[in-house]
């Protein structure tokens, strides 16, 4: 099987090389059949990589430890669900996932554009196959997923317990889909520049892919935040970590592009800016992929002296140099057809939004790469922390949310005073009312949070007003009931109203972020059974300890050998609110030096957070039990001395019983944060709005079908 996998990779490399040659020859010499053949090699690549991916997936599910990646990231005690997800937890497997997703998305993009822009598409094919070839050659020459060891080890190391969390199944595929989709606009943008066809057509062709990239990347980021919040024992969802930042940067430039492309479509302006944004987004996506694998920056996600630095730096260098060369050499073709008429117009608001987004991206870029910058400039590696990021990103985020309420309602070209009054009177009043209510209700004086709430209210009002007016107009025209009119309105203008829904979701999300980060209560302390403490308005009592043994009975289904936890009773003003069961899972390690019993629990311990989520607040709890007490250590020592590995699990039962009988003081971490759930709800709203916007409009499908039938009829007539 591994041999077949290796063969697939070699074949994939050959297909990439052939496809690049064929597309370039075809477009240069005007030989359409070669460009066609180049496009088909992308489909072939997708087929070959699908086979390779399936082979690796089967190896994981069958516990084939002859595969080095399987032995390193999976084990028999890893539950089947997590074995399936373990494929992309290793460097090699994640490279394969990247290349595979790239081939699938590229096939889809090239299939949908097969009848249009043949020259641009041919260049795009060559560029996409170039990326494909790059990742396949990394797998052939640097980190092959199909390396084997004979004889196969009897047991594997197991999936890192930190990654045993349900979203592990979808977070990496989503994020990688976002990253790979970012390269499609890049390929078509470069293709348009190379073919010297920089009209709005290429933008129209890739618009949907740019949107999909943005959507997938956004969901991937949010799922990562959710994982951080409910699996890592620190209770936060964003830490300005280098790898988090790396995924946020292309998302920001992608957001900017999705807005400014509308100006190019409508007014033929900002061509240089748009094509630069597309190229920057693709390059940032590659840099994001690179950051995880290079080990050049300190991050909780990316470690071990990875070896892929040189090839990636070369690729990024080529991308940046190529982009600059193309934009500069084609600048004459990229002249604007119009000029900005007024600073009070939708164009200029979009432009402002673009500047804020790119500014945010620059701040994050500078902060993320600061260790490298400072080392290069001063010889001393230094880094900036979350307070530095917050200082710039918080005000910029405020402006961004405010603009997301202004943009949709302000007029194109030039807004008049009457127009402004008509559109902004109600939203401004709602925002002021919100401010007055917040101040009167005695909310803690946190200026940025209060400003964010007011901006959010402004967005809800301005977009609500748009929906209201649209529905009213339809009702007047078609005499429909309000819900029917609303549905018809959204269905007929999917992109516009889907976009509005996205704006609402973003405002909801930011309100959640502002509230949860500004008005949070946290407490960290040691408690013994029976003791209690106050966190904000809540009282948490440590009722009694809990313990489960063997992977079979592990309550969290992650395959831990021993799990120690607590029953916590949460009350508010004497009323019962929730019973929470946080625990810490202990996993087996492969280190024989820890002894027969010690190695059963010697792996990395992982917190299983328990939280009571609510629409107004989350009560979040984590426990760190003390397993190093003399009594427990004595059991481990005696077990190590007297029990052979096959019987060692007996001692785990004794450990659990001893812990329950004489529970030592345990360390707890409690957090009460308001409105956290709205971050996830906001994300879902964005997702829903995004799907509406991305879905092909029925009229467009009909138009295409009718055009095709018309063409067929004309063809038939010509032959008759």
């Amino acid at each position: 099987m591994a041999g077949l996998g290796r063969l697939c990779l070699l074949l994939a490399l050959a297909v990439c090389a052939y496809g690049i040659g064929a597309s370039l020859y075809g477009v240069r010499r005007g030989r359409v059949e070669f460009s066609e053949s180049g496009r088909r090699s992308v489909y072939a690549l997708a087929g070959i990589l699908t086979v390779a991916f399936v082979i690796l997936e089967i190896a994981f599910l069958r516990n084939d430890f002859a595969f080095n990646t399987v032995a390193d990231t999976s084990s028999r005690t890893t539950p089947a669900f997590y074995r399936a997800a373990a494929v992309w937890s290793s460097q090699e497997g994640s490279l394969l996932l990247w290349a595979w997703l790239l081939s699938l998305w590229a096939s889809l993009a090239l299939f949908l554009t097969r009848k249009r822009m043949r020259d641009v598409a041919a260049y795009a094919t060559a560029i996409l196959l170039g990326f494909g070839g790059f990742f396949v050659s990394l797998m052939v020459f640097y980190a092959t997923p199909f390396a084997t060891t004979r004889p196969a080890p009897a047991e594997g190391v197991g999936l890192d317990p930190l990654l045993r969390f349900p979203t592990m199944m979808i977070h990496p595929p989503m994020l990688y889909s976002g990253y790979t989709l970012c390269t499609i606009p890049l390929a078509f943008g470069m293709g348009a520049l190379l073919a010297r066809r920089v009209d709005a057509e290429w933008i129209r062709a890739i618009r949907r892919f740019a949107f999909a990239a943005w959507l997938f990347l956004g969901i991937g980021i949010l799922l990562g935040a959710r994982w951080s919040y409910s699996e890592l024992g620190w209770g936060g969802y964003w830490g300005w970590d280098a790898v988090e930042n790396a995924s946020l940067m292309p998302w920001l430039t992608g957001t900017a592009f999705l807005h400014s492309l509308m100006i190019q479509e409508k007014r033929g302006m900002l061509k240089v800016w748009n094509v630069s944004l597309v190229l920057a987004t693709g390059t940032l996506a590659i840099m994001g992929t690179f950051l995880v694998r290079s080990g050049i920056l300190n991050s909780i996600h990316a470690f071990g002296g990875a070896t892929l630095g040189v090839p990636f730096v070369t690729l990024i260098g080529v991308l940046i140099a190529g982009s600059i060369y193309l934009v500069v050499s084609r600048r004459d073709m990229l002249r604007s057809e119009h000029r900005l008429d007024s600073l009070l117009s939708r164009e200029s608001i979009f432009l402002a939004n673009n500047l804020v987004l790119v500014g945010l991206c620059f701040v994050i870029f500078w902060g993320t790469y600061f260790p490298l910058i400072s080392k290069a400039l001063t010889g001393q590696e230094a880094s900036v922390g979350p307070p530095w990021f917050d200082r710039y990103t918080v005000p910029l985020a405020l402006v961004l949310v405010l603009l997301s309420g202004i943009g949709p309602v302000i007029a194109w070209r030039r807004a008049t005073l009457a127009n402004a009054r008509r559109n902004f009177l109600a939203p401004v009043l709602v925002a002021l009312l919100t401010l007055a209510v917040l101040l009167a209700s005695g909310v803690q004086q946190k200026p940025f949070a209060i400003a964010m709430f007011c901006c959010g209210a402004f967005v809800f009002a301005s977009i609500g007003q748009e929906f209201f007016r649209g529905v009213r107009a339809r009702r007047a025209m078609a005499n429909e009931a309000a819900p029917v009119a609303l549905l018809a309105l959204v269905r007929r203008n999917r992109r516009r109203y889907g976009g509005y829904i996205v704006h609402i979701g973003i405002a909801v999300l930011f309100i959640g972020v502002a509230a949860s980060s500004s008005f949070q209560h946290a407490s960290e302390l040691g408690l013994s059974p029976g003791q209690s403490t106050r966190v904000g308005a809540y009282t948490v009592r440590y009722v009694r300890p809990t313990a489960t043994v063997t992977p079979k009975y592990d309550a969290a289904h992650t395959g831990s050998t021993l799990s120690l936890g607590a029953v916590l009773d949460v009350t508010k003003h004497g009323h019962h609110v929730a019973t929470l069961l946080p625990s810490e899972g202990y996993y087996a390690s492969q280190e024989a030096s820890q002894g027969s019993v010690g190695s059963l629990i010697g792996g990395q311990p992982v917190s299983h957070v328990a939280l009571d989520g609510g629409v107004t607040r989350d009560v979040w709890t984590a426990i760190e039990p003390d397993i190093e007490t003399p009594a427990l250590q004595r059991i481990v020592k005696i077990g190590n001395r007297t029990l052979p590995p096959e019987d060692a699990v007996v001692a785990i039962g004794y450990l659990a019983r001893a812990y329950l009988q004489h529970p030592p003081q345990a360390q707890f971490h409690f957090i009460v944060s308001p409105l956290v759930m709205w971050i996830w709800i906001g994300g879902l709203i964005v997702f829903g709005g995004g799907l509406i916007a991305i879905w092909p409009a029925p009229s467009a499908v009909r138009r295409r079908v009718s055009m095709r039938s018309r063409a067929r009829a004309a063809h038939g007539l010509a032959r008759a």
């Binding site: 430890f65 080095n68 032995a71 390193d72 937890s89 290793s90 060891t149 080890p153 594997g156 190391v157 890192d160 317990p161 930190l162 890592l232 024992g233 620190w234 209770g235 995880v292 080990g295 300190n298 909780i300 996600h301 990316a302 470690f303 071990g304 002296g305 990875a306 070896t307 000029r339 500014g359 620059f362 701040v363 500078w366 902060g367 600061f370 260790p371 400072s374 001063t378 001393q380 590696e381 230094a382 880094s383 900036v384 922390g385 307070p387 530095w388 200082r391 710039y392 960290e524 302390l525 040691g526 492969q590 990395q604 311990p605 992982v606 917190s607 760190e624 003390d626 360390q667 971490h669």
Partner: protein
């Protein structure tokens, strides 16, 4: 003012604003940054009241807890200087003796104190270069 001139003025204003903002950003990043140091460098270079990013390995047998305070020692990757630390706040799951950590520290008197919640543990099992299966074989 004629439109061309107006546009130039606008462009100059916008560009100068961008330059001012970028310089502020760059200036504050240098003043707010904490240098990354190894234990040996920290002993020689640390000044009281400034924060540093200490990178090193947790010393075997040095970890013990006293209430909310976690005590542990950090040494150079190849051994040598050891810095004892008092740390409060979140301890990441992968934290243990022998692992590489990054923690923001400040010198208070003769003592080094870890900044709250700043402890990061390098995760050795992710993307490692020499998998144990190869080692078993060799």
């Amino acid at each position: 003012m004629n439109p061309a001139r107006k546009r130039t003025v606008r462009l100059v204003v916008a560009l100068s604003a961008a330059v001012v903002l970028a310089s502020a950003l760059i200036y504050t990043s240098f003043s707010a940054a904490s240098p990354a140091l190894s234990p040996t460098q920290l002993v020689h270079e640390a000044q009281p009241g400034r924060s540093y990013q200490l990178t090193g390995t947790v010393v075997q047998g040095s970890v013990h807890r006293e209430g909310a305070v976690l005590h542990f020692g950090v040494e150079d990757r190849v051994g040598g200087t050891t810095i004892p630390l008092d740390y409060t706040g979140t301890v990441p799951d992968p934290f243990r003796e022998g692992r590489e950590v990054i923690v923001t520290v400040e010198k208070q008197g003769d003592q080094f104190v870890g900044e709250r919640d700043s402890l990061i543990t390098k995760c050795p099992s992710k993307y490692k270069t020499a998998p144990p299966s190869e080692k078993q074989n060799s």
